[in-house]
Symmetry: C2
Subunit: 216 residues, 2 copies
DNA sequence: TTGTTGATTTCGCAA
DNA sequence: TTGCGAAGTCAACAA
């Protein structure tokens, strides 16, 4: 990890073109060859080059290129700081509460998606990709379920494609779109296609019953 | 801009929960209060907190919180480097070649989308969002145009929805899907729905005629 | 290698 | 403030 504070101008040419006028910025060069330029504001870097890429430094001009032909040219005018550290391999981030989790919990409690639902299987395969959950309802009908953290229009389209594919195979079949948040447009599109929307409560799914024991 | 190299553990609790075991990392604290933790690999930070947020340092434990109640807790075990620099305000990134540009250029030159096309309007409003361009062809028919940098399957779905909405209003109506790059799957889906695909050449759109004057 | 999907997506614009 | 769509989206995983 090399950290350089320098006054510089930057030009990027690749998927689009960008230019950065002269200013003082942080240049971060990592062990994998990646480089990012940071200003005093914002989480995202102003410019960057993802690995794998190669950096060639020559006479105050840094040229970073990758295989796709994208190029970052940094003209360094003045260096205020330059230091390097060996950080070693990071053990990595442990996550809890993403979509895979929701699907897991729903598989165990599909009744929150509708009374009398029972699980047929998770990741039900089709030739255009797996359906998150397939269940059966009390009347023996099939239910294809798409699970999302944020329910947007794309998710409804995705479920619609699955329903078209599975309709001839599993009959009768209906769709349920389940998400922690549901965008209004997604609700409208789902309704117009006869798809039921369900809003999920993550804490409730994990089992709020243990937090609020009912004695009566 | 404060740069700290330190051995630390990190816990985030907010939209999800995460944990980082002890390791040496770069902690980047910017003037806007934002903080990000970087490992030796990858462009994206391992953990971060976007501004606005507040940092409270007490006895080797850094607590960063925001208004939404998200919290980042950093337990600093050993500091290897700690320095600060004033970078000042950055003049900012100048971009060239994004979708808005394409749409602008196409509005002026819709004939590249088909002979005899004339513009009706940009951002033609519908109740499910604006259509990039609406044109009329030489026969008086309407043409709905979706413009993308990268033409993928989602864009075809989007245009299809617009066509369904506008069909009853503008008649006769057909669709054109225009992009700098067209994925094969997008072409297939478009063809199956009677949508014409057009590959755009950005340089040509900007006006190659000035570079190659024709005397004959 | 290519494609698909999720993401603490982030970011900007408009209503 | 909220909602919606674009992004040099990034990154992980499957085919």
């Amino acid at each position: 990890m090399r950290m350089v504070i320098a006054r510089c101008t930057v030009d990027y040419s690749g998927r689009l073109g960008t230019h950065l006028p002269s200013a003082v910025r942080l240049l971060l060069i990592k062990a994998d060859g990646s480089i990012s330029l940071h200003a005093e504001f914002g989480i995202k870097p102003l410019n960057w080059m993802s690995p794998p890429c190669t950096l060639v430094e020559s006479d105050g001009v840094w040229r970073v290129t990758n295989k796709a032909g994208e190029q970052l040219m940094i003209t360094v005018e003045e260096v205020l700081h330059d230091s390097s550290y060996e950080l070693g391999l990071d053990p990595g981030l442990v996550k809890d509460g993403v979509e895979a989790h929701l699907q897991e919990l729903l598989a165990e409690r599909c009744q929150v998606l509708g009374d009398g639902l029972t699980l047929v299987r998770r990741e039900y395969p089709t030739d255009i990709g797996p359906v998150d959950l397939v269940c059966r309802d009390a009347d023996g009908g099939y239910v294809a379920v798409e699970v999302k953290r944020r329910g947007e229009i794309d998710g409804v389209e995705q479920l619609t494609r699955y329903l078209e594919r599975l309709g001839p195979v599993l009959s009768p079949l209906r769709g349920v779109f389940a998400a922690q948040e549901l965008k209004p447009q997604a609700k409208v599109l789902a309704a117009s296609r006869g798809i039921t929307c369900v809003t999920l409560d993550y804490d409730e799914l994990r089992g709020i019953e243990s937090d609020t024991p009912r004695l009566f």
